[in-house]
Amino acid sequence: MTDISHMPAAADDAVPARAPWALLGRAMLQALLVAIAALVLYPLIWMAMNGFRSNAEIFNSPFALPAHWSFAAYAAAWQNGVSQFVLSSLVVTGVSIVTTVFISAWAAYGLTRTTIPGQPLVVGFILGGMMLSPTVALVPLVRMMQDFGLYNTHWALILLYTAFRVPFTTFLIRAYMLDLPRDLDEAARMDGASEGQIFRKIILPLCRPILVSCVILHVLFAWNEYLFAMIFTNSPETRTLPVGLTSLMSKHGTDFAQVFAAMTISALPIVIVFFLTQRYFIRGLTEGIGK
């Protein structure tokens, strides 16, 4: 962290403060940032470490490093269901990304580039879905899913994740599309391009930053969703990671290393995805926010 205090000139906006009290204040704020980072990271590191330790170590010396680095607990967790949960999570997240983003992008296009009869009502209807809580819909949804024969299938989750995320995703894409210049698509329309072509060839490519953000936000949602997954799936083959983890916890509750290993396995992919994509993610949010 020392490099920062030595090179205030490198800061892109701040004018270096020279007064000694200001330097002290800055040092304290830097220390605060470091302390918060430690507070964030330490529990996560502890979690990953515990996957390497034996039960006795976890109980008797919670702070110590593992005595030896054994991947046994990670392997056991992977074999005892985690691999299946990961697969379910991948399927549900993957398919619902496609359905959600496409349905939302179409809707956003329709709401910004065409003149639908009763447009304000349609906007209100779709975006109004954001205000409705999944918990409230739970009881009737159980019966619906059973009637459709979708109970305990990945489709139940895919449908629900799509339905409950379309309003928010449409909201983001619509806000972005509203700000896109209209000359391009109007020129294309003059040239006789169809709506479908304008959407595919002009608008969609221009929307790439917000689409990427929407995908990432959807991954964060679908990979981590618990309420629906808990209610609508009940077998090891259909359970996604968050629910699978709690079942693992009750089935292997006394093998703590394995539980910690499973937790780490389920957290790691999402953290990696976030780090790989954060530039686009933040860019999309920056352009999409504050409209």
Partner: protein, 428 residues
Amino acid sequence: MTRITTIAALLAAGTALAPCTAPAQEVDYSGTLSILTKFGMQRLQPYFTDLAAEYEAMHPDVTIELIQEDDDSIKGKTSTLVASNAIPDIFFSWTGTWGGNFVRGKRAADLTDIIGPGTDWGKTFAPAAVDAFVYDGKYYGIPLYLDAKFMGYSKPVFAEAGVEVPETFGALLSACDAIRAAGYLPVSFGNKEPWAGLHYLGQLLAYNVPRDVLEADFDPATASYDNPGYLAALGQFAEFEEHCTAGPDVNGISYQTAIQQLSDGKSAMYYQEIIEFDSAARPDTALTPEEFGFFPLPAPEGAAGDPMALEGAPEGYMISSASKNIPLAVDFMKFATSQANGRTLSAPPYGQPSAVIGGSDPESMNPSVVAGLDAIAEASYLVPWLDTVNHPRVAAAWLSEFQGFAGGTSSAEEVMAAVRKAAMSVSN
């Protein structure tokens, strides 16, 4: 399946609802059997997996689908399956009100003609175990194993603290003090899942409240919950909690942590079910099976109930009345309750004492489990678990209020008032 055969199957399911399931009926060894078990714990899972594989090998046209749940999840899972009319062909059930739900809703097949008194299959079980699943004079359940609650203890820690197995409740409390003085936690007790604490109370109630009063109170229609024995039992529990456990912190501890503390040699005792004996002390834990002992929770002197009562119940399986192939389901359960499979179940690593006569072989079993079985046989009254014998709303009141009592936020009078209120709200 073509549409016509689907319809035929549906019609067959309809006729299966008829009360008698014609035990002599020829078994059609084909199709799929779904089974909901309570053996979801890693240690127990292989039991049904192996049975299913063996049965499928014997009858290649049969496919078995297992849904294996554990103690915590079985209730919720069963309810969801019932609500969605997707009850598996064979499903786990406790005795008492829990099993009664299936009977009331006509979800369970009447097995009187095949497992009732005088039948060939019925004779293979310990009679009390089959009788525990009788509702309105009819037999609905196939008992798989017997269960009861005992205080498991570490012999080395008892020796180190210089205490003997307590004969009375008072002796237990003083033993706890001695063990604490020796530097051990006397009893590891985790009440995060509140049924764990309710098990103590169930046993204490049997000691303090006469059996007929207790049974009248289990039925919301006749419940009054005004016997002074209830407050006495709660008072005894409070004393026990103070002397023997970590105190109000118990509500933050999981029962799994508690059992681990006994296995790790950190605590001297853990109140457990006989079916947990083989997991509390294993050859690879600090507390070995040889060092493990058990005794019934000692009765308080002069209590008004039955000092020879023991908390416990057989646990078993029912067959769905909507099953498309009831004879096949029965056949599978006959297979599961053969003497040979009973012995497998009774022995380590499962350690679930089979309800089948001759289904336990002392040679292959953990001696503690054998001795526990004897204790069950000697008990004058098996008092069922409070959370499964009661109506769900009454059970919920017991669970949450008792947790409050253990945490020091509810008084004994408040607990009983809440239970009484719940019972009244159900009977109305």
